[in-house]
Symmetry: C2
Subunit: 333 residues, 2 copies
């Protein structure tokens, strides 16, 4: 415990695709907590498409700049506390950045109960599961018998969205890249159908899979897939906008989907953007309901755990290319 290895964002990617050379390894001293702070040992770092969005400028979080320790959320354990609210051994979720050790003010730490396996705290009980839960139920508002479509369906959020929609009695179609992911959705996670966006025209494939139209679309990607879903929406349909990963890794925002706002009018759609923290006042009952589904086997948790701090840049680059199935994270400690 003499050195703190860190991954620094050496250079902003700007309009380029994110690449390993945008990062570098750094070694710093392990920091010492001041009054009201805690020293954290980082166990698992969460990989999220939002990591890339933060490099584009301020969003709901301030932008990351060149030379900063790369930002990211992690599950961490309190090793030393100088705040009465925390004691060694407590588990917390925090924006620690990509490093082995971090000192943060206690008030910036979200204390979480120890549930085994700990990785579940970053997947189904973490931001991914919470995002799926609130986005689908609060913004999508699916009713039994309706048709729900989710993009990035084999990803951390999408794989949970589809399963919750099934629990709610909906017909569920996932959009994912490649036959392997599509097979997984239908054969292991109980989706009714899957559309491989790499295999051809998504609009036509969705129309074939959902001949009665789409009532709820949970969007994780934006772009052409958003457009394909939009043109398949039913009157009074709902679109939950969770992220636009297709626009994150590259230059200025591309042209938006055709049919906006024309089809939103004629179909009387409701399009709602959200971020999971908007719903934190209702977090505890949500986690309890998710845990009930997991414990009863109704909700299967898929995780993709990589090893070692130095694997973080590649893990993010691969996530943006869609290589993961389920929640991707890196075990650091």
């Amino acid at each position: 415990m003499t050195a703190n290895r860190q991954i620094v964002l050496a250079e902003l990617p700007g309009g380029a695709r994110l690449a390993p050379e945008h990062f570098r390894l750094n070694e710093a001293a392990v920091p010492t907590p001041g009054e009201g702070e805690a020293l954290l040992k980082i166990l698992y770092v969460s990989l999220d498409a939002a990591n890339r969005a933060w490099m584009q400028g301020a969003t709901y979080r301030s932008a990351i700049n060149a030379g900063d320790v790369m930002a990211g959320g992690a599950l961490a354990e309190v090793v030393e506390s100088r705040d009465p609210s925390l004691k060694p051994g407590d588990l917390v979720f925090a924006d620690t950045g990509w490093q082995e050790w971090a000192v943060l003010p206690a008030k910036k730490l979200q204390k979480i109960p120890r549930i085994e396996p700990l990785t579940n705290l970053l997947s189904v009980y973490g931001v991914a599961g919470q995002t799926a839960y609130f986005g689908l139920l609060e913004c999508g508002r699916p009713k039994a018998g309706e048709t729900v479509v989710v993009s990035a369906a084999a990803g951390s959020v999408g794989s949970i969205v589809g399963q919750i929609a099934k629990i709610k009695g909906c017909k569920v179609i996932g959009i994912a890249g490649g036959q392997a992911k599509c097979d997984l959705l239908v054969n292991e996670l109980g989706f009714d159908a899957a559309v491989d966006y790499k295999a051809g025209n998504v609009f036509k494939a969705l129309r074939a899979a959902a001949p009665d139209g789409v009532d709820v679309y949970f969007d994780n990607v934006g772009g052409d897939i958003f457009e394909a879903a939009l043109f398949n929406m039913n009157t009074f349909g709902r679109i939950a906008c969770c992220g636009a990963v297709s626009g994150y890794d590259g230059s200025a925002p591309p042209a938006g989907p055709r049919g906006v706002p024309g089809l939103i009018v004629t179909k009387r759609l409701n399009v709602q953007g959200f971020i999971v923290s908007d719903f934190y006042d209702r977090l505890q009952p949500a986690l309890a309901e998710l845990k009930g589904w997991v414990d009863s086997g109704k909700l299967k948790v898929r995780e993709d755990v990589l090893e070692g701090l130095e694997s973080l840049p590649g893990a993010l680059i691969g996530l943006l290319a869609g290589e993961n199935i389920g929640k991707r994270m890196v075990k650091v400690a």
Copy 2:
């Protein structure tokens, strides 16, 4: 009363701009009502951007085809009734089409009380006023002190949206084409500011007029102006999508606004498409409130009344080019 002059849609404009040659004058016999029907004398035909949208295919209404009497709503008077619910002299609103006489089933007629001047029944108490009222209050949900922006602000709907927003205590900015319209908005209708979209960059002009951002955007136009408003929206803003006139008169839908869905997520926007008939269960109290505002002088009614059946094609073409101020209609009888 021996002939019924009609304007027929001679040819669908397809991807072209609507032009006089797409219409022709026709003469037919005055129709005779059957059981359950009424013969209507058409008084005023309403001109709406939606007239053009109907030529592009089915929307919330079936498409218009070449050879059909041009579709359109009108204020009409019952001349002969073969249904117990109607008697001669009753006023109705109906989809009569562009002609002097029409026979329609009584159940397709919306009976309306006689309020003078009759033109108000097509403007502030008609679809325009109802659309402004429900779209702003139900979809935009403005709160006192918020900033409301409306496009096509000098038009039939926009001119009422802005005035209702002022009644509700908001700061109101109208977007319109040309200095004359902008002057009217500020000097006669009480808007706080106006942006001339023909005079330069709308995004920058809006930013200057609304330095604290936009909370509610009432969209009548889509396209670049939608995009300019989107980039000025505040967190948790609402966009009421009423129409997309910029996309009506031309070929296939153009690329959508940049920032969709990315900014919808990061700003947690709610985007709601609507059509006035969605709110008809609440029509009577809405009309009563509108009438109260008109009678007390809080809401000024602007109308643009042209004369004669044969002026209808030019009236629609001009409306699509934005030449009207306030509600455009044609006096037929």
